[in-house]
Symmetry: C2
């Protein structure tokens, strides 16, 4: 399996602290040593890094841990391969352009023998995850229009997520830079940090941060992860079938499908 990490914030925020915790699980405190990747939205552009090496030993991951890349939406993934070889083409997050926007996707889980639409978007590698992503993108392109509203997006995304989750394990993060859609089929957690900010201690590394020193009183920063990344904060655990749509650090829509 794999681990997911997402961020939604109302002000450009770096992911260094959470990323440092997550990447320890890629070969050090966890077994997810078959590559890692991260994409930071920066305006309409994205800054992405992918490596097929274990994140705990990756020089690129080491740079990303220390480089305060500021973003309002970011998606990160560390991989423990089940379907597909260990190679760069199989490394999440996956990216496609649609309607002049970058769309970024990462998946935790497995759907055996997945076969989806291949009308426009096609997988480059051979993971079930990328095939699912292409299926999502093809459905968005054929079902919706570029000016679809959030009701229409979430109706389609939850319907698809429900179908995927009925065939296997499907926890996902999907963003087009405007919002971050999150779906939990088995495991996902979130925390929203806002004033008054306090300290936090990583579970996977001997690192503590004092968020009060790094933020302003108006900042709202939410982290979504497969498992809580800190030991001394009150993470919310998603229920099975629960989905949340994040924007500017807040949940703007949410719901639950029956699995």
């Amino acid at each position: 399996m794999c681990e997911l990490l997402g961020m939604s914030a109302n002000t450009p925020t770096d992911l260094c602290f959470s990323f440092t915790g997550l990447t320890q699980r890629g070969g050090n405190t966890g077994p997810h040593s078959d590559g890692w990747g991260v994409a930071f939205f920066e305006g309409k552009g994205i800054r992405s890094f992918h490596d097929s090496a274990a994140s705990s030993a990756s020089k690129i991951a080491n740079l990303v841990q220390t480089l305060p890349i500021k973003s309002q939406t970011a998606i990160c993934h560390i991989r423990q391969a089940n379907v597909g070889n260990i190679c760069l083409a199989n490394t999440h997050p996956f990216v496609r352009e649609l309607w002049g926007k970058n769309w970024v996707f990462a998946h935790n889980g497995q759907i055996e023998n997945f076969s989806g639409l291949k009308t426009i978007f096609e997988p480059i590698g051979d993971t079930d995850s990328e095939a699912i992503f292409c299926d999502v993108m093809n459905h968005i392109r054929t079902t919706l229009t570029r000016d679809a509203n959030l009701e229409q997006f979430t109706a389609l995304l939850t319907q698809l997520a429900n179908q995927y989750a009925s065939k296997g394990v499907f926890n996902c993060l999907l963003s087009n830079g405007d919002w971050l859609f999150t779906f939990c089929s088995t495991k996902l957690a979130s925390i929203t940090r806002r004033a008054p900010f306090g300290d936090a201690q990583l579970k996977d590394a001997d690192v503590t941060v004092d968020f009060a020193g790094e933020t302003t009183p108006n900042d709202v920063v939410s982290i979504i992860a497969t498992e809580p990344l800190t030991t001394d904060e009150d993470w919310k655990i998603y229920e099975k079938g629960e989905w949340k749509l994040w924007q500017l650090g807040e949940v703007i829509k949410h719901g639950k499908v029956d699995l």
Copy 2:
């Protein structure tokens, strides 16, 4: 304007030496300080880095200079903005997926008020370069099929390049990982290194390399750049309108259009 750098090799080869030379021109020995980017093909995947900071001062560029990322095809670009703001979305090389492959493009030049096909692929940023790339990709998708041969690809690409060059300056590098198409409207140069390998001295930094110590006798490595990167090698200068299709370090097709 901008500067281009491409590599085609018959064995996975790092780009550290040439990249070190080129990135000096991004704010140090040259004025191209409005961002830089590079994409390395690795199997069907790509490892890409983009930064809107000047390459000569970029921590990410510094890492790429020292990390021996091995690739058979790579495309790099340093930018001096003319059309479009300085931001990540406007930073070459641009990437799109078609027929389950990554397609990577970088452009040197300018075409004013460019407007092309927007049937499937659309620009994310606001450069003429990305709009041209999307036009190329839309033409490939609508005119050719996934099993088109090299004759068909080069016929379409040279026809498009001729049209673009008639409207402005159009030097470009385009690759789908199988081959590297290069077109010169005003300025492009290449060098092919093969046994017996010798030394080379960068023009833009006090760096010398002994390629004999880094290669095997069968290696063939070609570098394509806007201007020669070394002072003591015999670079071939493209003529205006000349195009070359590179594969495994060799020119496998070439020709010239009347500009």
